[in-house]
Symmetry: C2
Subunit: 375 residues, 2 copies
């Protein structure tokens, strides 16, 4: 039987690392990108095509699934893996971020967050214990601790208080997770570092989490509008505050060049809606930067988005037609391409780290990607 | 090299026949159902999945494609087969039906139909010659003659005049088709019988078309609101008015039990948006009749729509969740199931005719399908 959870670093290059996370559900090659499967589906994709594109793990959303179809219902239908037909690892977020960004009339207390559903106005309560229970009902492979988010523009004392509460909630999350022994015996839980852009708060958060002890550590509270420069400045110290031997997951990141810079700074895991959401709005990622396929100059372009893409059989002219016509196949093929592009980038990053040539790869990638913006 | 066009009847059972249409693009097993690929895509489906579901041929729409992306553009991008990546036969309609049902400010004359696009109000003219040219630019395997449609409720003299004009247009379509020798050497053209629900007009139309000589014959002007009983009454004589040795294509039909009844009456080919359109609105076809997957009784149904369906890995409970959530994957899987259901029905009909047990099959099918409505 594969281990419950194990992280092996196979090569390092500067602060960057490449390795393998082993779980009961299979291995995850790092650095890893996790496609987002919010409502028990990676939008516009069949699970087999998500896997064929190179994904080892996907992400599911506690907040969305607790509201529809409901965690208990998913459990009765066999858990999230069977429900959506993805048998490899699934990481579930804790709902902490979505409850603040999507729901209405939220009321925070030391116990948790009370809110109204954005779907039907119904009342709900998320606590660390309920978030962990929901993730267990979903059958999550990697559970995330429940945390409290505040805007990065909040005063330092607000940031500090939210971080400190998040650390108390991290302990409650940890205890709730390991209190359900059968699920904990086969699955893992990550803590989430908070502290906004303050190195001292980040240090205190990392120390608190390490004292509790988690299988991996996420860097939370970034990619929320602070910009790449500020994010990279934080990543110049935040990953090194976390244990070296365990995976580091930068939540909600990001654009391809964000990912490259974060990998250079020691991050192992990523998730972002960008490749899937962009695929539904006509943006395609290419090595020469993102393009808007609706642009008239693609109307008779006979070349594919990339000759190695799973969508290489179709021309940009065809994709232009589909997207302009509002055809679902346009969203399907654009999403498939974008997810492949992201997974190809991760494979390239892993190979570059293994070969000890990450700096050269990253430099060449950025030159082509940024130089070609709006090609 | 396979023949340009050849129809071999391999078995008959009563008025029903089963056989093979051979074309340069491959064989079509009859009775055949053609999924509708209006705008160069069978909506929500990859072409490989359309084929895997059992389709030998799909339909493309002259009216939609002439307006967007334009026939000349499709030709410059390699023709419809390469454009959408479907290398098997494609039948294109002539635009005659859509121009009357979708466009605005139509003006009919002996020359053709002038109209405004429903997309942008631009002015266009469709004549028999231009319709055939468009279908040639698309690279159609089976071209349809351009015809004039009038409501089935029109007075007999209006029906007669429209049928007679359609026959003059059929001759112009035929001559335009064979005037382009390179395309005609590799592809086929069908005439379209008109005459509404009048046996005499249908007879006159069939005679006129047979005099011109086509590769196959469509029965037009049905499935436009007259009801199954009236349609079957027409099909009790209309197919027999057409040549026995050539394919008979009932345009725009239909529901599963419409198809069974039409096959019993000697029809070989069908097209309809029903399986694809229904798939996008939550209706699934089953042997026990159509069901609306949005119904609450499916919320925790662990069974698939059909254990033999390509969607059998997913429960009705999952499909219910996807459709209720407006997820694209819901439309994708429901469409895939419905197309498979239709193709499975055609395979069952072919097998029943070959075995000389069509009456028993049709009777059992109707009992289960109608008896189970709203299961």
């Amino acid at each position: 039987m594969p281990p419950r959870f194990d992280f092996t670093i196979t090569a390092s290059d500067g602060r960057a690392r490449t390795g393998i996370i082993a779980t009961r559900r299979g291995e995850i090659r790092t650095p890893a990108f996790m496609p987002v499967g919010t409502a028990a589906t990676v939008k516009a994709m069949k699970p087999a095509d998500v896997r064929a594109g190179g994904a080892d793990i996907i992400l599911g959303n506690t907040y969305h699934l607790m509201l529809r179809p409901g965690a208990e219902r998913v459990a009765r239908l066999g858990g999230l893996h069977a429900f959506m037909r993805w048998d490899r690892p699934i990481l579930t977020d804790s709902g902490g971020y979505q409850v603040m960004s999507l729901s209405e009339l939220t009321t925070r207390s030391e116990n948790g967050v009370a809110f109204r559903s954005h779907l039907d106005g119904s009342r709900h309560l998320l606590t660390p214990e309920r978030s962990i229970e929901i993730q267990r009902l979903l059958g999550s492979t990697i559970t995330m601790a429940f945390d409290e988010l505040v805007p990065t523009t909040s005063p330092r004392e607000v940031q500090a208080a939210a971080m400190e509460r998040s650390m108390r909630w991290a302990k409650r999350s940890h205890d709730a997770f390991f209190g359900a022994e059968a699920h904990a015996a086969d699955n893992a839980i990550f803590g989430i570092q908070q502290g906004a852009l303050d190195e001292g708060l980040r240090r205190a958060s990392a120390d608190a989490l390490t004292d509790i002890g988690f299988d991996g550590y996420a860097i939370g509270g970034l990619a929320v509008g602070e910009g790449q420069e500020a994010m990279f400045a934080c990543l110049d110290y935040a990953p090194a505050q976390l244990p070296t031997g365990q995976p580091r997951y930068l939540m909600g990141v990001g654009k391809p060049d964000d990912i490259v810079g974060a990998v250079e700074r020691g991050v192992d895991m990523f998730d972002c809606v960008l490749p899937t959401r962009s695929g539904r709005t006509g943006q395609a990622f290419t090595r020469n930067g993102p393009i808007n396929i609706r642009n008239a100059r693609f109307a008779e372009d006979q070349a594919p988005l990339d000759p190695a893409s799973p969508t290489a059989g179709w021309s940009k002219g065809y994709l232009h037609h589909l997207v302009k016509s509002g055809e679902m196949l346009g969203a399907m093929l654009m999403t498939e391409h974008n997810l492949w592009f992201y997974q190809q980038l991760m494979a390239d990053l892993r190979a570059a780290i293994s070969a000890g040539r990450l700096a050269a790869f990253a430099s060449a990638f950025r030159a082509a990607y940024r130089g070609g913006q709006g090609e």
